[in-house]
Structure formats: structure tokens, C-alpha cells
Amino acid sequence: MYLNVGNLRCGYGARMVLDGFSLSLRKGEFLAVVGPNGCGKSTLVKAISRALRPAAGTVSLAGRDIWRMKPRELARQVAVVAQETGVEFDFTVEELVAMGRLPYLSRFRRETEADDLAVRRALEATNTLGLADRLVTGLSGGERQRVMVARALAQEPELLILDEPTAHLDIAHQVELLDLTRRLNRERGLTVIAVLHDLNLAAQYAGSMLMLKDGRRFAEGSPVQVVTEANVAAVYGSRVRVSSHPEEGSPHVILLSGERCRDERAC
């Protein structure tokens, strides 16, 4: 197993969001993490990326405890694209993507050709080479997220974590970003953990899914196993029908209105 999370107790102050949580992930997997607000998705991401120190339990990567690594060392293996990264200062796209090389640079050394190459490759892979000289503050939401993925790729990571990357994107950009992620997963063997709100997108793109409820694993497995009418009703309390995606065959959730539920008692 590449990633091992064992008996994790993690939260904020005295409030433990995750308690006794375990998870294993093979290299090259594409795992989507879903669940209602406050179920512990983001806490899990923070714990795996070392942004939050767990009260107990371990997180290890390729057999090594991430808290025993130097921050730079971890950053060469794990890259994170957050939901919204406010960039208020006027960096160009290229400057921002080049920041992805930070974990490789020692204090007194300048960027080498290898660094420039990694930046260029990241720009190419995300189709942002044409934006290189634009200011990040002037980009659209979709462009900005692609640039953030480029910055993550410049880190040349083995594990890419996306925390609700499509939250503020329109449907075309959501699909574009997830197509990109899937391509990186399939063609480069990049291991991906994506926290997603949209069950349909998660089921369509991820190889396996993890559904959380109240900080605990409610369901885990292939999208067909996880996205069922019973699971969605139990975890979200929503009435849905699950059909199948016409092209991909993945489960597809159709939301039913709550009012009808009350009227007909047909939930």
C-alpha cells in the first residue's frame, strides 16, 4: 500500500472530527471522497497533507510516517490543489507555477534547467502554456484552477490531492478539470485523492469512492457499490433515484424534490 492512514484521531481543539479512522490506498488509484458538509472530508485531506497534526494515529506514505519527514520532502511527493487560493498579489502564471519547484530548491541555489523543464511540462500538461505571461489575478475561475493544478504538477508529486477543486467552476470547466485529472492519473500513474461534492462527477471519474458520514467510513468501493439510493438516503437524508450514465455506465444520481416526499410519503 502506498498511503496508509491508521487509527487517525484528528480535529480542531477538543472537537474530534475523525476518530479511529483508517484508510489504505494503492499507487495509481483515483479515489473520490464524498459526504455531506462537516463529515470530515477536508479534515482528512489536511491530515494527509500535514496541514493538521493528528491527536493520535499515523499517516504514512510509502511506509514512512509523514510527520517524520521534512516539510520539503513531503512536498516533493504530495501536492495539493485547494478549493480556492486567493492570490491577491500580481504574480504571472509562470511565476506562480514556478513556485511548485520550491521543495527542490536549496536556499543558495538558483533554478536549474531541470526546474524550468518541470515548469514547462506542467504548463503544457494543463494547457496553460499560452497563459504563462498573464497575471493570475486576471484569470477566469477555470483558468485559475488549471494553473493551480499546473503548480501542483511542477512539484512532480506522486500523490495529487484535490480539495473540492470544482467548487466554483461552471459545468464546462468542471468537466475540463476532471478530464485533466483523469488523464494525469491514467497516463502518468499519478495517485489522486479528490474531495468532491458532486456525486455524479465523482462516480464518473474516480476509480473508487469513499463515502463519509460523521467522521466515519459509511461506504467504500467502486462507484457502483458506493453510489446507491440507500447509501445516499442514509448519508445525506435525500431522496434520489440512481440510474446509469449513458456513455460511461457509472451510477448517476437524480435528485427528487423533498416536497413531493412529504406529500406522497413515497420516499
Binding site: K46, A79, E88, T92, M99, P103
Partner: protein, 344 residues
């Protein structure tokens, strides 16, 4: 490329600084022409034997009075601008200023205590005033840091709030001292707080130098990390930056720079706020170019302001006052420019 532009700005402003130093050292009751100033300067270069074509009295004025003053002005300007630039990155706030964590107010309190109660004794050519001002500044920031710390973390918002609180408390104590003390001490405190380079000499420069070298060197080392911090603390963390350690280093360096500057030159406002802002227009937000450029431009600005301060009217005006009078409107103009939409 912006990197090339950054390097060009640093180079050009460094040349401008040298010119400014020579010109500014020539200004005063006894004017010294730039050519004479350069000859006097080169006469001290070992191995170079120039025939003395300059006035011996002018040489003494140049070496003993003018040069230490412009050098000290340059050092103070450099320190404040670098600290301001680094703080603006650290707090992700373009309105951050080196004195915002209470260092200037703490130094003012230390200085006021020294003037009002301790009279005058000296350690190695330096009086109680700069020593107490320096310690007061350090103490204030230490207190702010302690107040803001939550476990192992020190949230930026906490620092800002504690900085405001400790700052205004220190100033209220200064007011109390001003109220209680005698007329002579009151005048001395008020005058000192306006900020001035009047008493500059080589001993003070020698005192300043180690703190400034340490502080400036530290800040220049962390340019890349400060860039990453502009993306937010969590993003910086994901890029492998040890954020809490970085914060501590920047705060220690910034505090050393500001406290040392205030100790010897009083409070000179606006430099640390306006100069990094201005330089950001020229070189962009990359701290690897922004910080050195801000340092050099800050030096030019303070030396220029001090030259105005001592040549505009018959009696010298404190340079802090000149900076505040010039800096305020200039900053407002910068702000208006920034707030207006780009296409207007």
C-alpha cells in the same frame, strides 16, 4: 521578463544611491562640490595617493559630520523598507508597516523612560536612550508574540490585534511620562520621537551595523518562502515551507531592524509603508527582487528626506516629520491609483 527587470531596477537604484550619498553629503552650511567629495572619499582608499587639492576643513566636515549622517540615513531607510516589505508579505497586507507589532511604540516608551528617569550615562559611546529604546521595542514585540501564540501556532490576526493593543498601551504610558515629567525632559522626548539623524556619528553607525546586517541578511534569504506565503499559509505549507518557523524568522529580523533604527533615529514613519509599495509597481511582487530593491530605494528616500530636512529652512526639521509630511499625501496618491480600475 520580470526577473531581468527586477535586476535592472536594483542595479539602477544602487547607482542612484551612491550618487545620492555623495550629493547629499555635499549639502549643508559649508557646501562641498561632488567632485571634491569624491576626491576626499578616494583619498582614504589605501594605496591610492591623491595630492590634496581639497580644503582640509571640508575634509573634516565631510568625514566627521556629513558622511556618518548620510550613511546612517541610508542604513535606517534600508532597514525600515526591507522590514516593511517583508511584513507586507507575511501579513498578506499591502498596508502593513514595520511598526505595526508595537515595536516603535515600545521603543518610544523605552526612550521616554531613559530620558525622564535615567539621565545620561554612556556605554561604549552610546547613551541610555538608544539602548532603552532598542530594548523597549524588542520587549513590546516579544509581548505581542506571546499574547498572540496559540499552542505552537501564532495566527497572523492575533499578532495584528495584540500589536495594536500593546502599541496603544505603550503610547499611553509615554503620555503619562510626558505629563508627569519636567519641561526639559518633555521637550527632549517629544523632539526625539519626531525622528532625526542629527546626532549621527561613526560610533552609532558601528552599533547599528551588526543588527542591520543580521536582519537584512535574514530577510533576503527568505524571499522564495515569502512568495509562497502570499498564496496563503496552507498553500505555503503544501509547498514544503515550515510556515511557523518562517514567521518567527521574519518577525525576529523585522523587529531587530526596526528597533535598531528607532533606537538611533527615532520613529521615521511611512518609509516602510510607502517604499515597498512603490517598488512593487516597478518590480512586481516577487520578494527576491522586491526586498533588495525596496532596501536600496528606501535608503535613497531617507537620505533625500534628511537632506531636505536640514536644508529647507535655517533650523533643522526632524527627518521623521519631513517623511510624514511628504509620505502621507504620496501614499494617498498611490492608493488612489491602485483603487481606480486599470482601464480608467
Amino acid at each position: 521578463m520580470r526577473a531581468a527587470r527586477g535586476r535592472r531596477v536594483i542595479l539602477i537604484s544602487a547607482i542612484l544611491l551612491l550618487v545620492t550619498l555623495v550629493l547629499a553629503a555635499g549639502v549643508g552650511a559649508v557646501p562641498i562640490a561632488p567632485s571634491e567629495a569624491v576626491r576626499i572619499l578616494f583619498s582614504r582608499v589605501p594605496g591610492l595617493h591623491l595630492t590634496p587639492t581639497w580644503d582640509e576643513m571640508n575634509a573634516v566636515i565631510f568625514w566627521q559630520i556629513r558622511l556618518p549622517r548620510v550613511v546612517m540615513g541610508a542604513l535606517v531607510g534600508m532597514a525600515l523598507s526591507l522590514a516593511g516589505g517583508a511584513y507586507q508579505g507575511l501579513f498578506k497586507n499591502p498596508l502593513a508597516d514595520p511598526s505595526m507589532l508595537g515595536v516603535s511604540s515600545g521603543a518610544a516608551l523605552g526612550g521616554a523612560v531613559a530620558i525622564a528617569f535615567l539621565g545620561h550615562w554612556q556605554i561604549k559611546g552610546v547613551g541610555t536612550l538608544p539602548l532603552f529604546a532598542f530594548l523597549g521595542g524588542i520587549a513590546a514585540v516579544t509581548l505581542v508574540y506571546r499574547l498572540a501564540a496559540v499552542g505552537r501556532r501564532v495566527p497572523v490576526v492575533g499578532l495584528l490585534l495584540a500589536g495594536v493593543a500593546v502599541g496603544s498601551f505603550s503610547i499611553s504610558l509615554v503620555s503619562l511620562i510626558l505629563y508627569m515629567t519636567n519641561q526639559q525632559a518633555r521637550d527632549a522626548i517629544v523632539f526625539w520621537m519626531m525622528g532625526g539623524l542629527g546626532g549621527a556619528n561613526w560610533e552609532k553607525v558601528a552599533w547599528l551595523l551588526p543588527y542591520l546586517t543580521l536582519g537584512i541578511g535574514t530577510l533576503l534569504l527568505y524571499g522564495r518562502e515569502l512568495n509562497a506565503l502570499l498564496l496563503g499559509e496552507e498553500s505555503a505549507l503544501h509547498l514544503g515551507v515550515d510556515v511557523e518557523y518562517l514567521k518567527k524568522m521574519i518577525l525576529v529580523a523585522g523587529t531587530l531592524l526596526t528597533a535598531a533604527s528607532v533606537a538611533f533615529a527615532g520613529t521615521i514613519g511611512f518609509v516602510g509603508l510607502v517604499v515597498p509599495h512603490l517598488v512593487r509597481f516597478l518590480v512586481g511582487p516577487d520578494h527576491r527582487y522586491l526586498l533588495p530593491a525596496a532596501g536600496v530605494v528606501g535608503a535613497i528616500v531617507v537620505v533625500g528626506a534628511d537632506t531636505l530636512a536640514r536644508s529647507l529652512v535655517a533650523t533643522e526639521i526632524p527627518v521623521g516629520l519631513v517623511m510624514a509630511i511628504l509620505g502621507g499625501p504620496f501614499f494617498l496618491w498611490l492608493l488612489r491609483r491602485k483603487l481606480k480600475p486599470a482601464d480608467a
